[in-house]
């Protein structure tokens, strides 16, 4: 492993960004192309059962200052995608270009330098903090690792960071993680993540394990950091409403592929992919008696070891036809910045031989009626 070039800065001054200069506006901050990540699944004895392609050719861009939200359910591969972007572990194939540098080709010290501006916030606030370390050591760790400043400068910076995330350094700097609440622990993790002034923050279900009110506090913190530090985010979650709240653009992921990508409002108001529609319909709204039974999606997600041929969503899609089984739909842009991977996106009427159209004929309509008049008797009490 090559020793990284020391970027020691004189005491008190801000750390110099290492690596290539920030790309000019217009260039994406992060550019992911055809990313593929696999695991081998072994049975207990060690014999190989199969290969799971958790991420199967995912491509997207994040522009500087933008927040991209990725929403997906269990087995969608979204967490694997996040790790693959970080090269931890390295993806099987595809490219990840960050600030103009191709990360998949870098090793050791150079990868460390390039990755400095990309940081990660984990789902489990306590799991991501070493229980034996004090808060101030935890937050200072990246500063120490990149040889930023001397002891005094670092201590000052740690206090600044704790203030930034709304924790009083005098009270919290010398505590251990077990003396913190979930929300506080997550704030410490965030303070650590922004210590080196990253350009991109990847948040993997970062608020999912927090109580509702604490979750709101942390989300507001993310917004504040976005404004004050000019951060871009890759925000990963399974809650579509949450993702839409924090993101400029939203990508929907299913079984390793992106179904739909577009501006948050557009994806919400005019979803193009049937899966997006199903997700939206499944969200319980705070309107009692709303048309919630309109499109409860059938079936279970298929096993990622053996994904369906063609379009992966076809086994649960009311609009699936034979074409969907034969040919995998490629993403195409139907509106400004709004792309979908579907042969029969929702802007078109359901295809003739699909389940949706036949069930509509038979009158066993479980599909969404356009005027939302489908309500069950339960709604009326």
């Amino acid at each position: 492993m090559t020793v990284p070039e020391p970027s020691a800065t004189p005491a008190g001054s801000e750390p110099r960004p290492a690596g290539p200069a920030k790309p000019a506006t217009g260039e994406p901050l992060l550019s992911v192309r055809d990313l593929v990540q696999e695991f081998t699944v072994r049975e207990r004895g060690g014999g190989k059962v199969g290969v799971v392609q958790a991420v199967s050719g995912v491509s997207f861009d994040i522009m500087p200052g933008e927040t991209l939200g990725i929403v997906g359910e269990t087995g969608s591969g979204k967490s694997t995608l996040a790790r693959a972007i970080l090269q931890a572990p390295r993806p099987k194939s595809g490219s990840v270009t960050f600030r103009g540098t191709e990360l998949t080709k870098l090793r050791g010290g150079r990868l460390l330098q390039a990755r400095r501006h990309m940081q990660f916030v984990f789902q489990d606030p306590f799991g991501s903090l070493d229980p034996k370390w004090k808060v101030r050591s935890i937050v200072a760790e990246p500063l120490v690792a990149y040889h930023t400043g001397n002891g005094t400068a670092r201590r000052k910076r740690v206090n600044e960071l704790l203030d930034l995330v709304g924790m009083d350094p005098a009270r919290y700097a010398k505590r251990h993680p077990r003396e913190l609440s979930g929300g506080q622990a997550q704030r410490v993790a965030i303070a650590r993540a922004v210590a080196l002034e990253p350009s991109l923050l990847i948040c993997d279900e970062a608020v999912s394990s927090l109580d509702v009110l604490i979750q709101a506090q942390v989300l507001n913190l993310f917004e504040r950091l976005r404004a004050e530090l000019g951060l871009s985010y890759l925000f990963i979650a399974h809650d579509l409403a949450l993702v839409k709240q924090v993101s400029d653009r939203v990508a929907v992921m299913y079984l390793g592929k992106l179904c739909e990508t577009g501006p948050g409002e557009a994806v919400y108001r005019e979803p193009l992919h049937p899966y997006t529609r199903a997700l939206l319909d499944s969200i319980p709204s705070t309107e009692p008696g709303a048309a919630r039974a309109s499109s409860v999606i059938e079936g279970e997600p298929p096993s990622p070891i053996n994904p369906p041929s063609g379009c992966r969503f076809r086994t649960r899609c009311p609009r699936a036809t034979d074409l969907c089984a034969e040919e995998e739909p490629k993403p195409r842009e139907l509106a400004a910045g709004h792309a979908v991977a579907c042969h029969f996106p929702l802007t078109e009427p359901p295809p003739a031989e699909s389940a949706e159209s036949t069930s509509a004929e038979n009158g066993t309509a479980r599909a969404a009626a356009p005027d939302g008049s489908e309500t069950t008797s339960k709604a009326v009490r």
Binding site: T67, Q217, L242, Q245, T286, E287, P288, I297
Partner: protein, 330 residues
């Protein structure tokens, strides 16, 4: 008024933790009518799970429990193990949050269901097996006969939860308590399971208590909603009285919860109305209203005196000295 199925009266539960007393539940009352759906909403530490476990008799020995919980007139608190076993399964049953931990990983699921059946009914093995498969079909398990012989790890989260529900329904209980039963599931699976539970309620004339932190779930599926904070009920109303057009949320905490949830209708990057602080330390509850230290509208009387839960409007009770004026729709 129909004869209430479950009547909980002044339930109080106290634990001893590390030498300090924790008042987990501090005097709550509610009733559940047959076939009705009640949602108990609260965050962690509110006491919602503990109260239902007390009703089921699942709290560890050495917990001080006061008050009463009567199912069709029979007192449930303080029953012996043998008596509890008679009630559990046939009168009331519970489904938990994490099906992975609630199912025995070394036993086939069919066996676990038949075990639930034979505990309460004297039937032959073959009869129990037939009933178990019938139950799997009832919970809409695809390929029920095949799944009968499978192990929990071969099933997805949603399917495991269906197995848990099948086990809970084995003896047609009159009351089902679902403790965050869908929290660990994907939103599409959650919708399926909730639809299933509601259909089962109709088919089996079963009451349902759903415990959750998700107000949206309560609004969509419940008849009556109870909001708990720090061991007390702070607001209680029919769902229509709280949410949607015509609904009015009164207690400040409920309002804070509603505002803090991300809503699809909001545009991105709008700052969420935030309530600072954390839930109170249960060993050292504040003198006045438990929510007052965090409430943006707290006044002096809020900090000094505990507000009583009172029915200020027909069917709608709240415990707040300065409630929201026009609570507004969700």
């Amino acid at each position: 008024m129909t004869d209430a199925l479950l009547v909980v009266d002044d339930l109080r539960i106290t634990f001893a933790v590390g030498g300090r007393e924790v008042r987990a539940v501090d005097g709550i009352n509610f009733t559940v009518s047959p076939g009705a759906t009640l949602a108990i909403i609260g965050e962690s530490g509110s006491g919602k799970t503990v109260s239902c476990r007390a009703i089921m008799g699942l709290l560890p020995t050495g917990t001080a429990i006061g008050g009463s919980a009567r199912l069709h007139g029979t007192e449930l608190l303080g029953l012996s193990d043998a008596e509890l076993r008679r009630h559990r399964g046939s009168d009331l049953a519970m489904v938990f949050q994490d099906p992975a931990r609630s199912l025995n990983p070394t036993m086939r699921i069919g066996l676990q269901i038949t075990e639930a059946i034979t505990t309460h009914r004297k039937v032959s093995k073959r009869e129990a097996q037939a009933q178990a498969i019938e139950l799997l079909r009832l919970v809409r398990m695809p390929a029920a006969e095949r799944r009968f012989h499978e192990y929990p790890h071969q099933l997805s989260g949603g399917m495991r939860q269906r197995v848990m529900i099948a086990m809970a329904l084995a003896c047609r209980p009159k009351l089902l308590i679902a403790d965050e039963a869908t929290t660990a599931l994907d939103v599409t699976t959650q919708a399926q399971i909730m639809e299933l539970l509601l259909d089962l309620q109709q088919e089996l004339d079963m009451a349902l208590i759903m415990i959750s932190h998700d107000l949206g779930l309560a609004a969509s599926y419940a008849d009556e909603v109870i909001v708990m904070y720090a061991g007390k009920i702070v607001e209680q109303a029919p769902a229509a009285g709280l949410f949607g057009a015509g609904g009015a949320v009164r207690m400040r905490y409920t309002r804070a919860l509603l505002d803090a949830i991300p809503h699809l209708e909001r545009s991105a990057h709008t700052p969420l109305p935030v309530v600072g602080g954390r839930p109170p330390d249960p060993t050292a509850l504040p003198r006045g209203c438990s929510f007052a230290p965090r409430c943006g509208y707290a006044e002096d009387d809020c900090l000094a005196k505990v507000p009583a839960l009172a029915e200020h409007a027909p069917g709608h009770s709240w415990a707040c000295w300065h409630p929201c004026e026009n609570g507004g729709a969700a």
